[in-house]
């Protein structure tokens, strides 16, 4: 995962907001994942697809904290979303 990694919600997921949570269903694995607080915020930022660099920048604007720690946490979280079949992480070349 690098700055230009493009994060995209998979097409075969369904999501709904219920009170203070977002519940996401993977039609691929038939598993539910619920996100709250920052996880919910990150999920919202993935529409439309966004680069890792831009995502981290948006989160740094919204939350206080060490930029390096935020990035590590975000990468870890995105890895979990990918493993759950909810997003794709695509390496892209930086634009000229």
């Amino acid at each position: 995962m690098d700055d230009h990694t493009l994060i995209t919600r998979r097409a075969d997921v369904m999501a709904t907001d219920i009170d203070d949570a977002t519940v996401i269903l993977s039609l691929q694995s038939n598993c539910y994942v619920s996100l709250e607080a920052i996880g919910q915020r990150i999920w919202a930022l993935l529409e439309p697809p966004i680069s890792l660099d831009s995502l981290v920048e948006r989160l740094q604007e919204a939350f206080e904290g060490d930029p390096g720690a935020i990035r590590r946490d975000v990468e870890h979280f995105l890895g979990e979303l990918e493993a759950d079949g909810l997003v794709t992480l695509q390496s892209t070349e930086p634009s000229a």
Partner: protein, 262 residues
């Protein structure tokens, strides 16, 4: 099953017809409605003075006994054991009318004075089927609607869903569920396994339910439990809780139902 409208059923030579009827009217019917895109709950649904209420829970949780208690407090039964929901015209979930009967444990039927006219359950030796209509019916009322029919799609929708289960304390514990807790608990109220092809429609209706229905977790004491305590707790909570979708609570204490369409 074909196209959500045809069921091919070949009974074994020695199959008890009553058992076959049960299988067709429960798991097979549930699969049919799921296939049609409806949401199927393992629940009894009644029309009470607070609106339509579904009592869900796994086998042995006490939902039929609770339903019988609600009926004795003036509720009218809409569906027994299998509650089928579909989206109405105004973002509400309307409830299909089920058969006019109530599956109860023999002990509960005797305690509630409903054993007269009851017949043995074809699938559970500890249960009886209490008719709510016909010449041998119990005095309990039942919705005057054609079984299997759907109500007016603009009519009232399900208002409360109670997920009933044995708890670990001596008291009845009731709390309203929200967010992820609500969704997780709701999975335990669904009837039967979902096939992958049924999942998208089910998810959409579960999301609609989460927005339009008040969902409660009700834990009753294990072993000895007092039906009146359960009903009193429910009644107090339903009377005090804010209405879903900004509705005003029904003004009439007497439930009235629109006729069902076949």
């Amino acid at each position: 099953m074909e196209g959500g409208h045809t069921i091919h059923f070949e009974p074994a030579v020695d199959l008890d017809p009553a058992r076959a009827d049960f299988v067709l009217a429960h798991p097979v019917l549930a699969a049919l409605y799921r296939h049609r895109g409806d949401l199927v709950l393992h629940a009894n649904t009644l029309h009470w003075r607070y609106g339509l209420i579904a009592i869900s829970g796994s086998s042995g949780a006490g939902k039929s006994t609770t339903a019988a208690g609600l009926i004795q407090r003036g509720a009218i039964q809409i569906a027994d054991d299998l509650t089928v929901l579909r989206a109405g015209d105004h973002g509400q979930l309307v409830v299909r009318h089920g058969a006019p009967q109530l599956h109860l444990t023999r002990v509960a039927a005797e305690r509630l004075g409903l054993i007269h006219g009851a017949r043995p359950s074809p699938v559970r030796s500890d249960k009886v089927v209490v008719p709510l209509d016909g010449p041998t019916a119990s005095p309990l009322p039942h919705a005057a609607a054609e079984p299997g029919g759907w109500p007016d799609p603009s009519g009232p929708g399900l208002r409360d869903l109670v997920l009933l289960e044995p708890g670990d304390g001596p008291q009845v514990q009731l709390r309203r569920l929200r967010g992820a807790d609500l969704f997780l608990a709701l999975q335990h109220g669904l009837y039967g396994p979902l096939k992958p092809c049924d999942t998208p429609a089910s998810f959409r209706l579960q999301a609609l339910l989460a927005r339009s229905v008040r969902v409660w977790s009700l834990k009753r004491p294990q072993g000895r439990w007092c039906l009146d305590a359960v009903l009193d707790t429910l009644e107090q909570a339903l009377a005090a809780a804010p209405a879903p979708l900004g509705e005003d609570p029904p003004a009439s204490a007497e439930p009235r139902l629109p006729p069902a369409h076949g």
